[in-house]
Amino acid sequence: MAWRDSRRNRSRLFLFISSVVLGIAALVATLSFGHNLRTAIDDQAKELVGADLMIGSSQPLSPAVQALPDSVANRKSEQCSFASMVYFVKSGSSRLVQVRALDGDYPFYGSFGTEPVRAEQSWRTGRQALVDKALMLQYGAQVGDSIRVGELSFAIAGALEKAPGSNEISTTVAPPVYIPLRWLEQAGLLKRGSRVNYQYYYRFIPAVNMDRLIAAISPRLGAAGVHYETVQSRKERMSRAFGDLTEFLTLISFIALLMGCIGVASAVHIYIREKIGGIAVLRCLGVKARQAFLIYLIQVAGMGLIGSIAGTVIGVGVQQVLPAVLKDLLPLQTGFMLSWTAIGEGIVTGMAVSILFALLPLLTIRKISPLYTLRLSVEPAAMIWDPLKILVYAAILLFVDVFAYFRMQSSSKAIVFTASLLGALLLLAGAAKLLMLVVRRLFPAKWSYLWRQGFANLYRPNNQTLILVVTIGLGTTFIGTLYFVQQLLIDKVKAAVGNNQGNMVLFDIQPDEVKGITALAKGEQLAVLEDLPVVTMRVTRMRGMTVEQAAVGRGRREGEGRGERGTAGDSGGQRDSLPRWIFENEVRVTYRDSLLATEKLTAGRLSPPVRSPQETVYIRVDEEYATRLHLVVGDSILFNVQGLPVATVIGGLVKADWRQLQTTFSIVFPGGVLEQAPQFHVLATRVPSTVVSARFQQSVVRAYPNVSVIDLELVLQVLEDILGKIGFVIRFMAAFSILTGVVVLIASVLISKYQRIQESVLLRTLGASRRQVLVITLLEYFFLGALAAATGIGLSLAFSQVLARVSFESSFAVHWWPVMVLFVSVCGLTILIGLYNSRGVLNKPPLEVLRREG
């Protein structure tokens, strides 16, 4: 019976289900991509590290530590990497890069991607360099050209297309330049205080048991402040990072699917209302309510299956596009492989949610009275508290929660996701309804008939206006929020590089170079806005705890099951442990006796300079840093200042205004302590133009090749570039929500086409011209698009405002041009789709249209 009943409606039924096709496609694509990515990580992890083991530190490793893995290693490489300026001789321009001085034949697994290919080996033999390909393009450099790194010139042996473990974004921030390690000393780049990473790569003989080796050497590496990476640890780290990425994309896809399902519920609702007469006749003929319900449930399930399969096929196609979309974020190549698990999961999820959502309108079938055949006014009684409907709502929420749980592996996160999604939908629906109500109330009654009719059409019986506003509005909210937050971040940086602040920072300046660089700046009429000494040191003891004691405290806390952190004022629990990185990482501090204009003392007091070695050294600590480590005024910290122990006590907490561009430090010493310690300086200046900037950089690089320059305008460009790349990925997935909204719109237009045609034919019969009907139709879709766009944009502005205040502690200024463009685009798209699908009504004689469509 279900089969026979659907005979004349199959195309319409499929139209309902088409709303979920894109959601399923996105879901299958992301699930399959995640599967392929995991496989790629497993296959390529060795090539990502390029070795079996990497150990590294910010200090040169002692021969004893270097020798730890030597007994089982058959090959070894050494690399020093640091930020430095490189000077392109031909173009006469310079740029901050990451210099990687390498010795040995690293990578042992995989290879550098170079152009020409022979450069992969040839650069190691002479005074040659491998230069990032994008950097070469940017500065018009070619193979054979010279670059200056420090005091030496290197010939460019080749363009570096890929290095182990690098991705497009990481190389955008600091493009790599490889030089042979043996030239590093002559280049004169390493000075006291230079921030260098020393890395040692090992390849082991095949029989080595890595777990046993790591277990044996890791305590000694830890004690020496050395970090390490194995193929396994890289694999785990990447799986975690990219697992988060793919799960995020999967959840966005799932939201698109749920949007489609809301469309299905709405469309099935209309379908069932149109079927009431037929169902009533069946009930007269003796069909039980349950049987009538099953007839339509089977139809919806059948179409759900077809929709899921269609979505899966499209999803497999989209899966092939995803690696290209994500290429800038991925440090590895992902192949294409069908993931039957992902396909199965996509089909089951698609079927389940389409049926669950369709059940809501289908349940009304049980209430259709046979009396309807006699009296048209007898409609199914709408029960507000239908227990079965409540059960279906609960089942939907449970399904969403279970799906989210399997993605995030955390019940609390899954509940937050489900609650947020429910909240967002209710908010969107509420906002849409409110807006519709307000517009309806305020709509000028004196406007011409065409405008009023176009607007009134949104409220026709069985309209899907709210559903369309919600689905299209959600896509708009996604896109809008993403764009506004991106703009907010860029504005923040632009504001930081304001007119009166520094826009160029020079660092790694040795004390004896400060005068010379200041003179160079004066020669270019540039004022030195800031000159700060920076001293590098390590924490040996904090609040009386060494690294070992901190670890014991942490272990005890974990054993007691108290996992959450409190505030600095909390007693006991939070203060008896410290994270390991406090002791392992270097700290860079400055010293001065006064507060900057951007700083405010929030606790303690400002200590005077230290006059004698016997005096207690009172330091100032940044408030956020203190909160994170539960530090309070009076806590003691023992520093190791390059071999010399310096005992200090926290004398005050300082709140810095991070919105102002200033070299800000977590720890500031008073005067009289660090003046004689090895240090370097940071200078800030403001360059008025790119020409002056280039000229000044060149003169600095020529005279002081060890000094690095950060041009904040360039940072801004890089930031825009990175945000653009990340934004593109999210927009790509968010597009599925927009497209789902479009499909729901098309389905809705086609479903209500008969009713529209009746209205248009009636108007034509009453003498409306083609233009008048066209204008009414156009206005109807304009109002629909405008309501959806306004709702979506309104919510995205609200979300951006909240994010600005809460997450970025910043004010949010609306850029009206993008708002207008988004509004016009959404309206335009809606009008276009609406008119295209209504085109048949406009040109034909009324009776012909009725005959054709009827």
């Binding site: 009134a456 009746q758 034509r764 019969t765 004689p845 009776l847």
Partner: protein, 226 residues
């Protein structure tokens, strides 16, 4: 008295499933302005098709239709729409009100399509005439079948048409309501001097008109004038 409608040797053929189906054949008659005519006949005799052709809602296959002195066959769809708006009124069996407009707004539609201003009072007067002064702001779904047809009547007369086509105007109503609608229809028609052409199965309704044209198998089999 002049002819308001002249049908000359009109035939209409549809193509269905690749086969030509003749619905009307060689129909030829004219209607005097201000007269009342009923077109009757069994189902499938071509009554509604004839009404559609006469009102310019469709094009005939052969022959010609002259409405209010204008031959409408060669006119574009917009030109015919304009003629309908100026000279023609309609009443349908299933009322055909715009569901998104109130009763009053439905009555105003033909005038608004003409671009006329200050029409609210005229529409209100008509609503009063059909006894629905208290239902001005109700939507069609809030009105009974009889009330909807009365709104439809008010709308048909709002444009002061020269000719009114009614397709089974009482077909969906009970006897008592039908009688009231008939009374209103003929009353308003007399008052306005409009030509009335009714397509109906209802012999009683047909009997109230001055002339009855009988159709069968797509042809006129009788044309009786009282």
């Amino acid at each position: 008295m002049e002819n308001i409608l002249t049908i000359r040797h009109v035939s209409k053929t549809y193509t269905a499933a690749g086969r030509a189906l003749s619905v009307l054949e060689d129909i030829d008659f004219s209607v005097r302005a201000g007269s009342t005519v009923a077109i009757v006949g069994p189902s499938g005799s071509g009554k509604t098709t004839l009404l559609g052709l006469s009102a310019g809602l469709d094009r005939c296959t052969t022959g010609s239709v002259e409405l209010n002195g204008i031959v409408i066959d060669g006119l574009s769809e917009d030109e015919r729409a304009d003629i309908r708006n100026r000279y023609v009124g309609f009443i349908f069996q299933n009322f055909q009100l715009m569901p998104t407009l109130t009763a009053l707004e439905n009555v105003m539609v033909p005038l608004e399509l003409r671009g006329e201003k200050h029409i609210r009072n005229r529409a209100k007067e008509l609503m009063e005439k059909v006894g629905l002064a208290d239902r001005l702001h109700h939507y069609p779904v809030e009105l009974s079948g009889g009330e909807q047809q009365r709104v439809s009547l008010a709308r048909a007369f709002s444009g002061q048409p020269r000719i009114l086509f009614a397709d089974e105007p009482t077909g969906n109503l009970d006897a008592e309501t039908s009688a009231k609608i008939e009374e209103l229809l003929f009353g308003l028609n007399r008052e306005a001097g409009t030509t009335l052409i009714i397509v109906t199965h209802n012999a009683e309704l047909a009997a109230n008109t001055q002339r009855i044209i009988r159709l069968a198998g797509g042809r006129i089999i009788a044309d009786e004038t009282k």
